[in-house]
Symmetry: C2
Subunit: 231 residues, 2 copies
Amino acid sequence: MAIYQQVAKILEGEIRTNFKVGDFLPSEWALAKRFSVNRHTLRRAVDELVHSGMVLRQHGRGTIVVDNRIEYSIRKRARFTESLKEMGLKPEARVVRQSLTQVDEAFSRDSGFLPGTNLLELCTLRTVDGEPICIISHFLDIELVPGLADQYREGSLHAYLESTYGYQVQRRAGYVSARLPDSEDATWLNCSQMLPVLVVRSHNITQTGKPIEYSVSRSRSDRFEMKVAML
Amino acid sequence: MAIYQQVAKILEGEIRTNFKVGDFLPSEWALAKRFSVNRHTLRRAVDELVHSGMVLRQHGRGTIVVDNRIEYSIRKRARFTESLKEMGLKPEARVVRQSLTQVDEAFSRDSGFLPGTNLLELCTLRTVDGEPICIISHFLDIELVPGLADQYREGSLHAYLESTYGYQVQRRAGYVSARLPDSEDATWLNCSQMLPVLVVRSHNITQTGKPIEYSVSRSRSDRFEMKVAML
DNA sequence: GAGTGGTCTAGACCACAGG
DNA sequence: CTGTGGTCTAGACCACTCG
């Protein structure tokens, strides 16, 4: 692990245990001296804390602690949200429907795929403790994932894409909205059609920047609150 | 403007016009030479593009373009989301209700204020082109904002807090959920109680890290989709 | 003016990807 | 092995805050 990461980790722990919100960190100079690293390296460490929202730099004044809650660590691990992690990464998932579609003009604007592209739509249901929480429609360029329709049945789709095709799927953007579920979603989610669902649309790409998946998740709003870290 | 910011701006423009998604940037060495800056400075410039999601670094391979759409510039300006910007920063806002409350245990957990704190609740309605879009409940520690209840009537609350009290309000966290509006919200938003609202809870602090405002916004889900930038 | 964070330069070496 | 990005050090000067 890089030095700046080790320093960041130590600082993180100390801030949680010894600092109150509003306290100032020692100066960069002092911290650099204490850890016997260059000031740039120390700054790189503090950058980590800044990015995760734990401290705030104030030009000419110092670096102030703005968050020392334990839950911070959770937020940090799931870079986007805990809930998206549930939606995308947990193994309690199974395919409940699949079909083929072709991209038209309107869908092209939403999904980012070129019109005319042939897509495989996989619909997966995510459950936690046996309770349905979230249903996701995944749209994938069928030419990039030959055989997926026949083979993938459950577990993490992204892990499957990596192990089978070598794609490292990355999220590019998220669009959050809300609506009432259609009857099919309400059935799968085992909830009333009067209970809104939180909708997250995501554009996902491979490590080479090629769009590989567009997904639309619908989550029960009584079971979900999405946490969003600030920059 | 710092050199790295100027370089970032130039690169941003060139990527939009001359690069396709999937293209690689010239190497850091080449770019540094071209702009006559140190490689560290060039890296700092590319850091900006990485953080805004335009490019992706690949150790040992290069830096790849993953997004060159125009709308990117919008996304960049509103660091969190365009919609939160609407909710928090646009001038089409007016106070529709205000009241005093005291923090109890449950509200303390939600808001982060200490139990027993006296709060001023301001309810503001945000409209765009005269159409109501969003209603926000702002909860402020009354001791920190003496006179606010009598004086603030419309416009940006955060700008008012800065000009009047010198507070630079910063968002700390956002929690997104959805629900059906209560009848009062539906009335203000001029919508059906069957139309879900997107709920965003935010904790806001001053430049000294002191919690100053807890807000809960409710937005019409037919007019709003919240964009969330990824790290 | 003293102290803090912000930026820039210079040079070095390491770790990874790919021919 | 070459080229790429990743990290670290060293030293300098600037911009801001506050007493």
